[in-house]
């Protein structure tokens, strides 16, 4: 009983820390779609700052806490500006690597600052690295209370109460303040939030400041149970990630519960489950197992199944070069390296030799991420697995070469297993699941003594192949260079082969790939098998260079920094991997000449993250890109020579005679807009007058929704001008236009489905009295004010979207097919609202596909045909029969 209670208490305490980190992860992910791997690093930085302030400068606890949290919150704002905001549309690998870069750089920067203060400015503060169980917020030494069977100490009480207070505070903020409502609306439907006047960029800033602050709190309160090292803090982040996945990266309460349950489960599991005692790591692998299965069952990527999302992938510019232009850099580079092998010092030679082995491992990233487009965080485990199998076999008497062949084959099989989640998951979920598998490998397989020979590991000898004795570094380096070149050649072959084309096709669009008969499963298996085989070969080579392998030599986390540096240099091309490997081994040596600190390399990762947010294709592409860009420009010219649509304006602005007194509210002049390369609107001139309903007609695909979005600010115009009440608003964000008096009823129902009826109204009507007016006008809503809007019928949803407009008539209403999918009776109610608004002086732009039902409602009519106004005039002049013709003969 006592044991159970003790386990429950300690489980709840670690659970509280996980919960806080998980809440932060969910908060930032839901507003920015970036999973912040740096959350643990932030917690570390805050804790270090707090430690130095209290232990070094002897500040009292409270000001130290306030300053520490304020500093990391400010850091959140800064990082949001320079990194995260630019990443929203980036590829998954880029997002992951940018935050991984930060997770390496931030602790290093914090420690560097402390060390500089100590070494250069002789501050009398502790150096701050590797502090075991630092004091937290509570008194030191800690108080211990005994309550019957319960024993609890002051640090535990504080950790639990902080978690409770933060949760309640956050709950109050999110559910009972206007700011919180704005946040929830943004998370619920970001595009609509802008249409409801919410500045979503400000919301994202707040989320980052909050999330980083909470991470800091988690770190400081958790400090007494951890050692103050970046590794420990990154470790708990993975557990928090599992909790965040259980919350589907969406629900804050679920993240809280998930974190607590994980803490409890971990504690009880380690205390009670003796079933697998022969497998010592299983208890610590529990959160990773839960992370993996959580992802596998909860994070299925439905977009991929539906197959309607194509990832825009830029092509590799080098692939198109003639063969000798491709080969020349490799020839020059190889000769340079061989010369280097003969002229550099023994120490530098040993680094280069290691670099060559690492280059092989790094090339496996080129296959899985660069070509396959999948982010694998398990490459270090593949390398370690290969090396371990070889070590074990060689110790059993097998020769190195056959042992290597066996090891590569075994790892390739394991790689095929790793491809299984890739069939269901994509992007971030896949990356996290490979990380979970790698960590399971670390804690279970690589902790299994008979396989790894304990902490000693295995000796791996240098081979003698035929007449070549690879005992010296020089001979080994030359041999490895040959291996590197062979693998580069193989990757090149793959890239230019049917298999490679199939892999790139699947990566570009799974739907299109299967529609030409390519199997997505087959491609993904091939990618994982080839890449794990290469990684394991590299692992074996690395062990050979080092002379031994042990499980501590290649922890799974190392795979994160490897991926980071490869992506920074260039993931798309084999050259990027080789250069990254050389940089990785040589940079400490190069930096060593400039400064004595060993932190600079880590900090460069952070700068790399900033750089990556600017040029997502890596330094190599940014470097050699100029020539390619010039070539692409020439290609673009050829492309531009192809015939494109010509602008043939047909319509004159709607300006009925005798209406000179009506004020123009909205004026469009030569408006062009579209999506990416597709221009939908080819120059629209249109005027919408106050107190009149202008009906925008057109067949599906004519551009009605695009026009509505371009007027509302949901879509940027690519040309022309949008004037609202005489003011040019063409470049104004949607929320700015709303605040000036526009209102938008977008095509799908304009509601936040996850917010209640009352909250939906409150977003637009902050004043409770106004909301009561809305309920009076729509009694159906009044009876359902506590119901989530997603549960309302379609008609009720549309009423909910329109209700605020009746209370506070806007200057201009843009209604995009407000009757779509609604019963005729409801549609009539919608039109009643529009009439009511017209009477109140609102200018209404009403878009509809079907004319007959709305024609009687309209004052003016504009007919849109394939992105152009083909007819415009007063509604009375519309000839219904001609209208039918224009639907059925859209082009000719």
């Amino acid at each position: 009983m006592d044991k159970l209670i003790a386990l429950l208490v300690s489980g709840a305490v670690s659970g509280a820390v996980y919960s806080l980190l998980a809440i932060g992860l969910v908060l930032t992910y839901s507003v920015s779609r970036v999973f912040n791997f740096a959350q643990g690093a932030i917690a570390f930085a805050a804790t270090l700052l707090f430690y130095e302030l209290t232990q070094g400068l002897h500040w009292p606890t409270v000001p130290a806490l306030v300053v520490s949290i304020a500093v990391v919150s400010a850091l959140g704002l800064l990082v949001n500006e320079v990194v995260f905001r630019r990443l929203a549309e980036a590829e998954d690998a880029t997002k992951i690597v940018a935050t991984v870069g930060l997770s390496i750089a931030i602790p290093a920067l914090a420690l560097l600052i402390v060390e500089t203060a100590v070494d250069t400015f002789h501050a009398s503060i502790p150096r701050g690295d590797n502090i075991f169980l630092p004091p937290g917020l509570g008194p030191s030494p800690k108080h211990i209370w005994h309550w019957g069977p319960v024993t609890i100490d002051s640090n535990q009480v504080i950790a639990l109460s902080v978690a409770v207070v933060v949760s309640i505070g956050l709950w109050l903020l999110v559910n009972h303040t206007r700011t919180g409502l704005r946040m929830r609306a943004t998370v619920d439907r970001g595009s609509l939030a802008e249409y409801r006047g919410i500045d979503t960029i400000a919301v994202s800033r707040l989320a980052y400041a909050l999330s980083f602050g909470i991470a800091g709190l988690a770190g400081i309160t958790g400090a007494p149970f951890l050692s103050l090292t970046p590794t420990d803090y990154t470790g708990i982040l993975v557990v928090a990630a599992a909790a965040a996945v259980f919350a589907r990266l969406r629900s804050l309460p679920m993240a809280l519960v998930g974190g607590l349950l994980l803490g409890l489960a971990q504690s009880l599991f380690s205390g009670y489950v003796h079933l697998f005692e022969s497998i010592p790591g299983l208890a610590s692998a529990l959160p990773y197992l839960l992370l993996f299965f959580g992802l596998f069952f909860l994070a299925r990527d439905r977009r991929r199944i539906a197959g309607q999302v194509a990832e825009p992938v830029a092509a590799d510019p080098v692939a198109a070069l003639v063969w000798w232009r491709r080969l020349l850099p490799w020839a020059v580079g190889s000769v340079g390296l061989v010369v280097a092998f003969y002229v550099v010092s023994d120490y530098q030679l040993s680094l280069l030799t290691r670099g060559m082995a690492l280059a092989i491992i790094f090339l496996s990233f080129t296959v899985v991420t660069g070509i396959g487009g999948m982010v694998s965080l398990s490459q270090a485990s593949f390398a370690l697995l290969g090396a371990m199998v070889v070590g074990k076999l060689v110790a059993g008497g097998m020769a190195l070469v056959p042992a290597t062949i066996v090891a590569v084959a075994v790892t390739a099989l394991v790689g095929a297993l790793f491809a299984l989640p890739a069939l269901r998951l994509g992007g971030l979920s896949l990356a996290l699941s490979t990380l979970a598998l790698a960590l399971i490998g670390d804690t279970v397989l690589f902790a299994y003594k008979p396989f790894t020979n304990g902490s000693y590991g295995w000796t791996v000898p240098r081979p003698t192949i035929g007449p070549f004795d690879l005992g010296t570094d020089r001979a080994m380096a030359c041999a490895l260079l040959v291996v590197v070149l062979v693998i580069v050649w193989i990757i090149g072959n793959l890239r230019r082969s049917p298999s490679g084309r199939a892999i790139l096709a699947v990566r570009s669009s799974e739907a299109a790939a299967s529609s030409v008969g390519l199997s997505t499963a087959r491609s993904k298996f091939r990618v994982f098998v080839i890449s794990s085989a290469i990684a394991s070969l590299g692992g074996v080579m690395l062990a050979t260079v080092n002379g031994s392998v042990s499980s501590a030599s290649l922890p799974a986390q190392v795979g994160l920094s490897w991926l980071a540096i490869v992506v920074l240099v260039g993931i798309r091309r084999p050259a990027g991997a080789v250069i990254a490997a050389l940089l990785f081994v040589l940079s400490p040596e190069i930096i060593g000449h400039l400064t004595s600190s060993n932190r600079i390399q880590d900090i460069l990762f952070g700068l790399g993250a900033v750089q990556l947010a600017k040029s997502p294709d890596g330094i190599l592409t940014a470097f050699t890109g100029a020539r390619t860009r010039a070539r692409n420009r020439r290609a673009a010219v050829t492309v531009a020579d192809m015939p494109v649509a010509t602008n043939t304006p047909v319509a004159s602005p709607v300006r009925a005679a005798g209406l000179a007194e009506a004020t123009p509210i909205l004026e469009l002049e030569g408006l062009h807009a579209g999506y990416g390369a597709v221009e939908v609107l080819h120059g629209i001139d249109l005027t919408v007058l106050a107190g009149r309903i202008t009906l925008l007609l057109g067949a599906g695909g004519a551009g009605k929704s695009t026009l509505c979005a371009a007027v509302g600010g949901g879509l940027a115009a690519t040309g022309g001008e949008v004037r609202f009440q005489g003011e040019d608003v063409t470049v104004l964000a949607a929320h700015g236009r709303i605040r000036r008096g526009m209102a938008i009823a977008p095509e799908s129902r304009g509601i936040f489905p996850g917010c209640t009826v009352a909250e939906n109204l409150a977003v637009v009507l902050p004043d409770a009295a106004d909301r009561e007016l809305a309920y009076e006008r729509f009694p159906a809503l009044a009876s359902r004010r506590r119901v989530e809007a997603g549960y309302l019928s379609g008609g009720e949803q549309q009423m909910l979207a329109l209700a605020p407009l009746v209370v506070k008539p806007p200057t201009l209403l843009i209604a995009d097919e407000p009757g779509l999918g609604l019963a005729p009776m409801i549609v009539d109610q919608v039109y009643d609202v529009l009439r009511e608004l017209r009477a109140a002086g609102t200018a209404v732009l009403l878009s509809e596909e079907k004319a007959s039902r709305v024609l009687h409602l309209a004052d003016d009519v504009a007919f849109l045909t394939l992105g152009r106004l083909s007819w415009a005039g007063p509604a009375a002049d519309v000839d219904v029969d001609r209208l039918a013709d224009s639907y059925l003969e859209a082009r000719r």
């Binding site: 050649w489 793959l494 049917p498 298999s499």
Partner: protein, 269 residues
């Protein structure tokens, strides 16, 4: 206009039409909503059938059922008399059902020529991936025949000048043309075109039309065309099927459809 084995009236009996694709009484349900309700469609071996209808009529859903992206809740899809309702997208593609997409989906990471190669060579060649890794794929039997097919289609679609341009950087007109080429390069038995001219200017649509007609002039292929641009459909199709609210509202040759009061009413609401 291609009249060939199909009469201009479109009312030719099914048997005489020599059917390549038959969709019978297909229904698709999303949650509680019927997207398609008992829709049937028959396409002859050399026939061009247009499918039109207002927004939400179920045109794209019907395409997804034919190409295999969506399992119907009820009904059958038959290809040359074989029931393929349970077959995967890739299987159908390998057996001659090829399509284009409403939102264009070229393989952005491949060049124009590679897009076509990937579509014609598939991923299950003799010798498998090892042959590819050793750089011997070009020596496979059939490789040069495939390369010739690709060159033919590049010429047909007027993409020769862009052959080595990354497809991801193509403007919409060329990308749509490439998607057409990618569907044609395998010489499909059934070709599904999902709004091929959406977002195109008149000249581009005309070029697309020229390429399509040139291909169909000397290939046997049943075509189903979904298009918002009704004029394009009227110009090209032997027969038009009008969908409304998931069901077939009318079917017949263009002139009949144009004059059909039910069709006019469906468009006007």
């Amino acid at each position: 206009m291609r009249g060939a084995p199909v009469g201009p009236s479109g009312s030719v009996p099914v048997a005489a039409r020599d059917t390549v694709l038959e969709v019978s009484e297909v229904a698709v349900q999303f949650g509680g909503v019927r997207a398609i309700d008992d829709a049937s469609l028959v396409v002859g071996r050399r026939e061009l059938v247009g499918v039109i209808g207002p927004n939400g009529a179920g045109k794209t859903t019907l395409f997804d059922v034919i190409s295999g992206f969506r399992r119907p809740t009820r009904g059958r899809v038959e290809l040359d008399g074989t029931d393929v309702t349970g077959r995967s997208v890739a299987w159908r593609a390998r057996h001659g059902v090829r399509r284009t997409f409403q939102r264009q989906q070229v393989f952005g990471a491949l060049t124009v020529r590679e897009n076509l190669l990937a579509a014609v060579e598939g991923d299950r060649m003799r010798g498998g991936v090892v042959v590819d890794l050793l750089g011997l794929s070009s020596r496979r039997s059939g490789a040069s025949r495939q390369a010739r097919r690709v060159d033919d289609v590049l010429e047909l679609c007027d993409l020769g000048a862009l052959r080595d341009v990354p497809a991801g950087s193509l403007p919409i007109g060329a990308a749509r043309m490439l998607e057409l080429g990618r569907a044609l390069v395998h010489e499909p038995r059934v070709l599904l075109l999902d709004e091929p001219t959406s977002g195109l200017g008149e000249a581009e649509a005309a070029a697309m039309s020229t390429a399509l007609r040139a291909y169909l002039a000397d290939h046997e292929c049943g075509v189903v065309l979904v298009e918002h641009d009704v004029g394009f459909v009227m110009d090209h199709c032997d027969r038009i099927v009008v969908l409304n609210l998931g069901a077939v509202l009318a079917a017949g040759p263009p002139d009949v459809i144009r004059a059909d009061p039910a069709v006019r009413a469906a468009y006007l609401g």
